[in-house]
Symmetry: C2
Amino acid sequence: MGEFDLIARYFKRPARRAALGIGDDCALLQPAPGTQLAISCDMLVQGRHFFADVNPRSLGHKALAVNLSDLAACGAKPLAFTLALALPEINEPWLTDFAGGLFELADAHNCELVGGDTTAGPLNICITVFGEVPLVNGRSQALLRSGARAGDDLYVSGTLGDARLALNALQGKLSVPAPILLAARQRLERPSPRVALGQALRGIASAAIDLSDGLMGDLGHILESSQIGATVQVDTLVHSIACYVDSTPAGIQGGIDLSLAQWRTLALAGGDDYELLFTASPSQRAAVAAAAQASQTPVRCVGQIDANPGLRLLDRQGQVLPNQYASFDHFA
Amino acid sequence: MGEFDLIARYFKRPARRAALGIGDDCALLQPAPGTQLAISCDMLVQGRHFFADVNPRSLGHKALAVNLSDLAACGAKPLAFTLALALPEINEPWLTDFAGGLFELADAHNCELVGGDTTAGPLNICITVFGEVPLVNGRSQALLRSGARAGDDLYVSGTLGDARLALNALQGKLSVPAPILLAARQRLERPSPRVALGQALRGIASAAIDLSDGLMGDLGHILESSQIGATVQVDTLVHSIACYVDSTPAGIQGGIDLSLAQWRTLALAGGDDYELLFTASPSQRAAVAAAAQASQTPVRCVGQIDANPGLRLLDRQGQVLPNQYASFDHFA
């Protein structure tokens, strides 16, 4: 099977909203009048972002999910994406599953594959995603990293550290009860981008970012872009998927042999969370709660933005914790 | 140096026309009212698309050039691009040169880097490019593969087979005089996307494609999309950069030991040409000539579109040649 048969068999579907989809030199998109186009791009490399033996259905899901998560963080509505795929060989069952996972998530978000490239090479998946952000009176409604103001509340969606918990368990560094591992592994391999929450927060949140490299690093981007500081109540962050697995005892530990300090490390610097971190004025508390409700996404206030630069971590008793959590760096 | 320092040092520049450039979860583009956005995406893999020891400045140029060539084939005006880069290591002189070649071509086309991704991994460059195509009375002015009609003339810009000539020489399969190799290698490593010609052909050409996999395969895409056939005067295609190198004898051979059949193979199936192949009604001959003139791009008529499906190759005497030229397939 050649390149064009491969595309036709696994990836070509009729254009729906795009003016022109797969099959010409370019795809054509016609964004709605009064909108901006939000664009993001993520590349996933075998051995770096996923194991060689990863389930291809999960990989297809995750490759698009991490991109949709960036649209979510901008408050953009997904429209379309391109897929560039380097494959070491043409493995038909693998491609069927990969495309299955990819299109299942794409369809759930009405996000259309409009073009791309396929080539032979070490397994590499590069997706560029396009979303729509409304302009209101000429002003972009995009959620940026740079809008946080002193006095704003700091929020996180969902739970943090689950993906890293699963990774540590899969690497044999940690023993995790089977039902919790199952749930945590789902979070690692099939993250749910917070697309509905991001759109619901337009006009409410002052700044937002998606958590991919760990909260410490990603919050650092908001603080740097907004030129402000923050205080985080660390123990409000320590809230794992383990709490939600029925068959385990209630509470964070869930039969996992980790100290509180280790749970904190997972939450602050685990990485691969794909939750939203955002800020909003205290006057927006009811609106934030309503956005969380409307998007069926749990959200919790975990700290405050303040004018004092830098990041302060406080424990349950209000004591300052040492700030030694490194965020994920692909070249470290 | 970490990921964010790398981006800041080599790739981050202030946004010019983009509403938001590098540095947030998404870039924001605001296409002009009454336009469509043309999108294309190409991935370049070491060992497949370039040698490990390629000049990084040339590689930066070529990675963007092959994408701009797709915009050219649609008649789109370049606007912006994203860059995803997997690097085996952080090599600063290499990055300086790569970024230099990339931005030199980007600036020449007023095309802005608005976002992307960097990661560790086997060298892989994935660029997604965005261009603008006007709508006239609600009708897209994009040049598509599907618009060719029986009776149309078939045109090619520039010269074909030069890149493959250089590749064969560099691989030691062929001896080529130094001045010709220098010129041909320039065509292989630093192709000039025909962006001005593509835009000049809007409203004139009936169909267009860029030649990346060799004329035979790429013409096949036009014939398939337009559901027509073509007759090509093969020897009008045999016209190499060798003809233009001053220090060699005039004419195609230029001191290169190739038979006419081998020259034909280079022109028909060399690949990596990044010229435009397009069709236009005979009533547009003066307009095509004017577009070629305005864009300072040589263009020659090489055949005709006809209703009879399939592709017929004729030699100078009008004899039918066997059609045995395979186009480039990354998985073949």
